[in-house]
């Protein structure tokens, strides 16, 4: 029976590959866009402007305080009302990018705030502009704090991408959901789905751990 089911599943091999591909593509695009946006938001948030800082803070809180599933439903079914026509893939990218950006924003803010003020003042005294200060003094040192949780966030992103299956995107989880209705062996099908995610996520988890160890050892050393 199991052998027969494995054969049946093997028959869906192209579908599974498409699902895995969708998961990878979704995660990759949202990862890149989310990082860019997240860094931008983080830098803006630590700017001096109370209004911008507050607005970003409120938005980040909104995203962190509601389930991603609800966000996806909102984006997919409501945005078109505001005139923005969306297919499931675009909605998924927008939702994931937004989610990633908000969490990365907080990580970046923590990183920026961790840089000793002495450094910032020295940079000011040296006549560097805000942008130069950021790029040459603050961010490089902030990266030490930022990198481990950033990689961790990428893992979370890949896992959260599974939720887009709820709006019908054929990602790896959705493929499992489709196949299990034809091959009613939930243990087998979703074990394989889990394996797929594991193969993609585990290397990143190892990387995050390695980074944490290395950064943790170097933490506290401030060169003046």
């Amino acid at each position: 029976m199991i052998w027969q089911q494995l054969q049946s599943i093997a028959g869906s091999y192209p579908l599974a590959l498409r699902g895995l591909g969708m998961t990878v593509v979704l995660s990759l695009i949202s990862l890149v866009l989310g990082t860019l946006l997240g860094f931008g938001l983080g830098i803006l948030r630590t700017g001096g402007n109370r209004l911008i800082s507050g607005a970003i803070g409120a938005w980040v809180d909104l995203i962190r305080g509601t389930p991603f599933l609800v966000q996806i439903f909102l984006i997919f079914f409501i945005l078109p009302e505001l005139g923005i026509e969306l297919d499931a893939f675009t909605a998924g990218i927008i939702a994931l990018t937004n989610l990633a950006a908000c969490f990365i924003c907080e990580i970046v803010v923590a990183g920026i705030r961790s840089v000793p003020t002495g450094q910032v003042e020295a940079a000011l005294a040296s006549g560097l502009s805000r942008w130069q200060r950021m790029r040459q003094v603050v961010l490089p040192q902030a990266m030490r704090i930022v990198l481990p949780p950033l990689v961790g966030q990428y893992v979370l992103l890949i896992k959260d991408s599974s939720v887009v299956s709820a709006i019908g995107l054929t990602d790896l989880t959705r493929v499992g959901w489709l196949v299990v209705q034809r091959v009613p062996n939930g243990l087998l099908v979703f074990f394989l789905v889990g394996l797929g995610y594991f193969i993609v996520c585990y290397p990143l988890i190892m990387l995050a751990r390695r980074l944490e160890q290395r950064m943790g050892a170097a933490h506290g050393e401030v060169q003046l």
Binding site: G65, P67, V70, F73, I78, K159, S162, W177, G186, G194
Partner: protein
């Protein structure tokens, strides 16, 4: 749909939303209790010096952390009946949430215990305490203080994760929003309302975290 945003329908469905909210709260509470139980066991296993318990515990934690909750939920939902276990959906949901969050709780506890300075442990040893006494009187009380904020953070994550249970037909808060979409074709009214309710829970838990931070004397404790 947005032009005629119907507050009247929302009010009409308020009892349903209320029921969903209550269900979400007790589901999350039970799952959190389960997660604590699972997490404590895993953390204890992970802190053992011998390989026998440490390896399976670590393997389990890694497996759970590298796979999505939704896949784990479907694994249990579609898989348990094959083992002959016919459980009501909400039980499967609580099980999935507990087993998933338990792995994260284990890591939080482990980090908390490992954060106790060696000096404390050595002082305990020097005072002639046994392992159990050391744990009970020195390490655990301090670890407790440190782990409360991240544990509350995990509780917040759990409440958000509980939304996935709507996909296996548990009648919780998100499902209430879906019903408004499928019965009355008003997804906007449905999902915006439940988002508001979730925010209520979020700020409530955050408030709790801030209060507990102050109560435990942790300056500037943030989740």
């Amino acid at each position: 749909m947005l032009e005629n945003f119907s507050f009247r329908t929302i009010v009409e469905y308020l009892p349903l939303f209320g029921q969903g909210l209550v269900t979400t709260v007790w589901l999350s509470a039970l799952s959190f209790a389960g997660a604590l139980a699972v997490g404590i066991v895993l953390a204890a296993m992970n802190l053992q010096r011998g390989r026998l318990f440490r390896v399976p515990a670590k393997a389990y934690i890694d497996a759970v952390r590298a796979t999505p909750l939704l896949a784990q939920l479907y694994f249990l939902y579609f898989g348990l009946p094959r083992l002959g276990l016919i459980l009501p959906e909400f039980v499967v949901g609580i099980l999935a949430l507990s087993l998933n969050s338990g792995a994260y709780v284990a890591e939080i506890i482990r980090a908390g215990i490992l954060s106790i300075p060696r000096g404390q442990v050595e002082a305990g040893v020097a005072s002639g305490m046994t392992y159990v006494q050391r744990m009970r009187l020195v390490i655990l009380p301090q670890a407790f203080k440190v782990t409360i904020p991240p544990l509350l953070g995990q509780a917040i994550v759990l409440v958000k994760d509980s939304a996935l249970l709507s996909l296996i037909s548990v009648a919780e808060l998100t499902r209430a929003g879906q019903l408004l979409a499928s019965d009355r074709f008003m997804p906007a009214e449905g999902f915006i309302t439940i988002a508001a309710f979730y925010l209520l829970l979020y700020y409530g838990l955050k408030g709790l975290a801030a209060l507990s931070g102050r109560w435990l004397g942790l300056a500037g404790a943030r989740t």
